[in-house]
Symmetry: C2
Subunit: 137 residues, 2 copies
DNA sequence: TGTTGACTTAGACAAAGTCCAAGTTAGGAT
DNA sequence: ATCCTAACTTGGACTTTGTCTAAGTCAACA
């Protein structure tokens, strides 16, 4: 995570306590927090941090490519610090739990040129859905 | 679309003018309207229809399996009447245009058992992204 | 240590969706 | 044909999620 803060600095960004705290909260695997969840955890460490700053910082991290924005439901966007290893998501239809998964092959390869309609297709996001072990019981 | 209305009737649902209008609006291919867009078009035919009824009816049609709910961005959910032929979506990163596409093979097959973590996986939704011909220019 | 532009903040605003009490009506019963 | 009533619809309040702005603060450089 120091890497990240150094990269931000390299781009001429100020290392504020707010940005440090957001970066600390957004660390680990299988982490897919909403902006409000990030804010709640950030407040635990830095009580005066504002919602606006959390949104700003998340947007900056996404623009930097350091965090992924995931829209698995029609609700709040989720923020995923696991931006450096390509992966897809497995979502429980019961409880909403989200896991990182690594399918075989390149999902893009399944889309024939004839089905691309002249688009310059660059990414494929896959959401697998089903019931997790707990919700199946 | 009469099929749909008959199926609704078969489930003991009243055929109100409101439901009829929503069913008429949600017809065709490559149709991915937001709830507000459905409402706007419904109002053109039945001026007194309310937002609440549009949301209610869309939710009912989704529960019936007659309409798909699509979350391609972090914004409004979209409603897709093309529920009877499995397909995926190609979204323009520039203008947001959405096309139905039909990839080869079953996207589920790409997820090995070892990557399912005990989930009973039932569906895979794929969103392909890129620039459409207009936005590339 | 001072300066300054980048950053943060509170709160207003907007967009998307849910919920409810009160009024209306589709469709079976009479 | 008319009545009855549970199902449906409605407007508006409310919630959640996200954006924006003007005013205050501070990190980093000199
Ligand atoms: Mn992830
Ligand atoms: Mn579609
Ligand atoms: Zn679950
Ligand atoms: Zn486009």
């Amino acid at each position: 995570m120091n890497d990240l803060l150094e990269r931000l600095r390299g781009r001429g960004w100020r290392l504020t306590s707010q940005r440090r705290v957001v970066a600390e909260v957004l660390d680990g695997e299988h982490v897919h927090l909403t902006a409000d969840q990030v804010h709640a955890r950030a407040v635990a460490r830095l009580p005066e941090i504002s919602r606006a700053t959390v949104y700003n910082t998340l947007g900056e991290l996404v623009a930097l490519g350091e965090v992924l924005e995931v829209a698995t439901d029609g609700r709040a966007r989720r923020y995923d610090p696991n931006a450096h290893r390509a992966h897809q998501h497995l979502v429980c239809s019961g409880c909403g739990a989200i896991r990182d998964v690594h399918p075989q092959g390149d999902p893009l390869a399944a889309l024939p040129a004839a089905e691309r309609f002249g688009f310059a297709v660059t990414t494929a996001e896959v959401t697998y859905r089903g019931l997790c072990p707990d919700c199946r019981a």
